[in-house]
Symmetry: C2
Subunit: 126 residues, 2 copies
Amino acid sequence: MEILNQLKTDQNGLIPAIIQDDENKEVLMVGYMNREAVRKTLESGRVCFWSRSRQEYWIKGETSGHTQTVRTVTFDCDGDALLIKVEQKGGACHTGYRSCFFREVSPDGNSTHIVGDKVFDPDAVY
Amino acid sequence: MEILNQLKTDQNGLIPAIIQDDENKEVLMVGYMNREAVRKTLESGRVCFWSRSRQEYWIKGETSGHTQTVRTVTFDCDGDALLIKVEQKGGACHTGYRSCFFREVSPDGNSTHIVGDKVFDPDAVY
């Protein structure tokens, strides 16, 4: 895959992948991929990350059923970030929210409030 | 700022910040911030990154006039990524495109094509 040569990974061999809902354009999450995870994602059409905490490949939705089916893959001018638009089943966040970005910061930076939609009960899924 | 204590930075003291157009929800770019850049961003209402290549603070649009005015700041479940919705003047990408994510990868991973909108001539701006 020619694209793999155009991507610049960090000192750990990883590149951040922003996952965006292709329907409503909501940013759902950020995960990390190594080159092999990018290859798996393109080949399978399912988003596959490299889990930094577990040090293993992680096909999104494999446990929860909340899969991410790839619609388009783009990368940025520097080649050091991916933007993947997906069809998201259920919620992207393990806490039950549709998006991992469910906390908004107040303008003074001293408090937060919930802006996301809770779409499932994590205790029932994991 | 209480929020600064809730953010997890990487081994270089940085956290990725996804910049999204608040109007049309286009993902414009990814930059990196240290805690002080997050503070500057919240205090000024203008997006301020830490430039990894130049090792200095970088107020987006200072040279080009293509400023990013902060609308909302959210952060993810793990506290290790920011999503900042902005009002973008001009184009976010130094190449002249509206978004840095202007190249789409073909499904076989072997070629790319341009999907972004070119909104300015970089030679005339920088």
